[in-house]
């Protein structure tokens, strides 16, 4: 039974939640609003929130100056491609760690996670030189490989947490039913883990989509995703706030829409295993 919470307290909590939500969302909102201002108004002090001359000129200029669709298609290929490869490696790895743990499984998981604690810039020079020598600079293949590798620890961790919740009896029952390892993974584990795999996939697509450090440093035009598209509007000769905002809005819109539709799945994925 739900406990009765006093109205005052409920009101206070509601206001607090909305305030926190707005605070977090404000930069996005501001970016979107700015994208509809003229460059002059974008600079004005005091800043104008809603009452300005709404214009679409930034979007048309941005579209004229650079090929949005090429960047966007690169973003899709890089984020989806790296995610699928990460899942192909992550599912068997997480299966092994969850259901056939060895003495060092926990250490291995920690070690995998620890690679995420290293500042990426520490690996930039060797990786850049390696990419240059192998001819991988500004190629989709090279970027997919990097995105796949940097996100693999998170994929394995998330899947591991999910798989841990699946009773091992059911997999053993499949084995007793004559299922080979492969069939056990495909017909029993995967369908049962669909929500977990889906939320892992979503989160990883978002992470890969938004990844800026490696994509900015390892690509220029051919393989460049939307992060490079945004960055091209922040130039040393002078900032074009309104155009930069328009570019940013166009870059985050697809992933924002995806996240909006998948939010239930995402929340479930991120809190899975936290409460039983």
């Amino acid at each position: 039974m739900a406990r009765a919470i006093p109205l005052q307290r409920r009101l206070f909590m509601t206001i607090l939640a909305w305030a926190a939500g707005l605070l977090i969302f404000f930069p996005v909102l501001w970016t979107v609003l700015t994208s509809f201002k003229t460059e002059l108004e974008a600079f004005s002090t005091p800043p104008k929130l809603f009452f300005f001359d709404w214009t679409l000129e930034n979007y048309s200029i941005v579209q004229e100056r650079s090929n949005y669709l090429r960047f966007a298609s690169n973003s899709i290929i890089l984020s989806v491609g790296s995610t699928l490869i990460a899942l192909a490696f992550g599912i068997p790895a997480a299966w092994a760690m969850a259901f056939q743990p060895g003495k060092r499984t926990k250490d291995l998981l920690m070690w995998m996670l620890s690679t995420k604690m290293m500042p990426p810039v520490g690996a930039l020079i060797p990786l850049y030189l390696g990419f240059r020598d192998m001819g991988l600079l500004d190629t989709r293949g090279g970027l997919i490989a990097v995105l796949f590798l940097i996100n693999l620890p998170i994929v394995v961790w998330m899947l591991y947490t999910y798989f841990k919740e699946i009773p091992v009896d059911i997999l053993e029952a499949a084995r007793m039913d004559g299922a080979s390892l492969w069939k056990e993974l495909v017909f029993v584990l995967a369908p049962m883990a669909v929500p977990g795999i889906a939320s892992t996939m979503l989160l990883n697509v978002i992470l890969a989509w938004n990844e800026a450090f490696w994509t900015l440093n390892l690509s220029t035009s051919e393989a460049a995703p939307l992060t490079v598209f945004i960055a091209s509007y922040s130039s040393p000769e002078g900032l074009f706030w309104a155009k930069l905002s328009a570019a940013s809005t166009m870059a985050i819109a697809p992933i924002l829409v995806l996240g909006w539709f998948a939010q239930r799945q995402l929340v479930r994925g991120l809190t899975f295993g936290a409460v039983k």
Partner: protein, 335 residues
């Protein structure tokens, strides 16, 4: 076919030796029950037979073919789990058919076999339901159905009735026994419930700390337990065990007598006792007594017996039914 033979099978988890060495032959069509307290290794041995755990040494033969190195999926056995372990994303039909699909059998044959199994187990109306829409008993029937359609060499049951309530447990017990009669298949059944063991088994294997204490028919174990452990484990209420001077009179370290082998009555060898408490079951009365010579005793009297706590009663032990054990807990066989 359906013989299973364990030869010097051992199992250790890291440094802990859980099965120090087991030899056992299970005959074709036999209903074997592994029984013992929790942690005695009964489930581990079952899982070793199944192939869900690897043996540390020794060999397992199914139909005289060594299988210790074969994966579970290749051993041709079927297992029913305590947790049912149904595939939650499949319908009842899908669950029962899964093993046949894995074996690559033709669709029509699978359908016919599923239909037949469902009929045997009263599941026909539920074939399109998901496991979560079934009751505990129905779920366990699906698990059994999943096992029987595969026509395995032997059935393995790992405490299949532990999650059911008492009434359903009795019913399912009968159904499994009926199934054994119909299929005439080898069945290995693990339980900690000695009543299940006594009622279902052709032969019982009593396990203690990973070792086989005794193998025998239920009546052999009841009439001739070869150790204190078996004597205390088989039978309900438990056998009365008496140590000390009273046992020494019989030339033993410990003597045991079952509650049903103590009669209420007067006589030269009668023992006077005070009634501590009486349990009335209707069909029987369990009377818990205190005596000076033998300590605490439990007596099973047929029917309803008036036994007011605090009053005195004299009882006679059936001398032919007294079991004698030495200081190591082993039975002393009559010369």
């Amino acid at each position: 076919m359906g013989t299973i033979r364990l030869q010097s099978v051992t199992k250790r988890f890291d440094a802990v030796e859980v099965i120090p060495g087991v030899d056992l032959s299970i005959r074709e069509g036999e209903f074997i029950v592994f029984v013992g307290p929790s942690g005695c290794g009964k489930s581990t041995i079952l899982r070793l037979i199944a192939g869900l755990e690897d043996v540390s040494s020794g060999e397992i033969f199914i139909d005289e073919k060594p299988v210790a190195q074969e994966p579970a999926s290749q051993r041709g056995l079927a297992m029913v789990f305590q947790s049912y372990a149904l595939y939650p994303h499949m319908s009842v039909r899908g669950n029962i058919a899964f093993g046949l699909k894995m074996a690559g059998q033709p669709k029509e044959l699978i359908e016919a076999k599923v239909a037949k199994a469902a009929e045997t187990l009263n599941l026909t109306d539920y074939l399109d339901r998901k496991p979560r829409q079934l009751s505990g008993g129905q779920r366990q029937r699906v698990a059994i159905g999943r096992a029987i359609v595969r026509e395995p060499k032997a059935f393995l049951f790992d405490e299949p009735l532990s999650n059911l309530d008492a009434a359903l447990r009795v019913q399912m017990r009968l159904e499994i026994m009926q199934l054994h009669k119909t299929l005439k298949a080898t069945m290995v059944y693990v339980t900690h419930d000695q009543v299940e063991a006594m009622t279902m088994a052709d032969r019982i294997v009593v396990l203690n700390k990973g070792r086989i204490e005794q193998v025998g028919t239920p009546m052999e174990l009841y009439d001739r337990p070869n150790s204190l452990f078996v004597a205390g484990f088989i039978g309900s209420p438990k056998m009365n065990l008496v140590s000390g001077p009273a046992a020494e009179q019989y030339g033993a370290a410990t003597i045991g007598i079952r509650p049903e082998h103590i009669a209420i009555g007067e006589g030269a060898k009668a023992v006077t006792a005070r009634i501590r408490i009486a349990e009335h079951l209707g069909s029987d009365t369990f009377i818990h007594l205190d005596t000076d010579e033998l300590g605490a005793l439990t007596v099973r009297a047929q029917g309803h017996v008036e036994a007011a706590p605090g009053t005195s009663l004299s009882v006679i032990l059936d001398p032919a039914r007294i079991h004698r054990f030495d200081a190591h807990g082993k039975v002393i066989v009559h010369a």
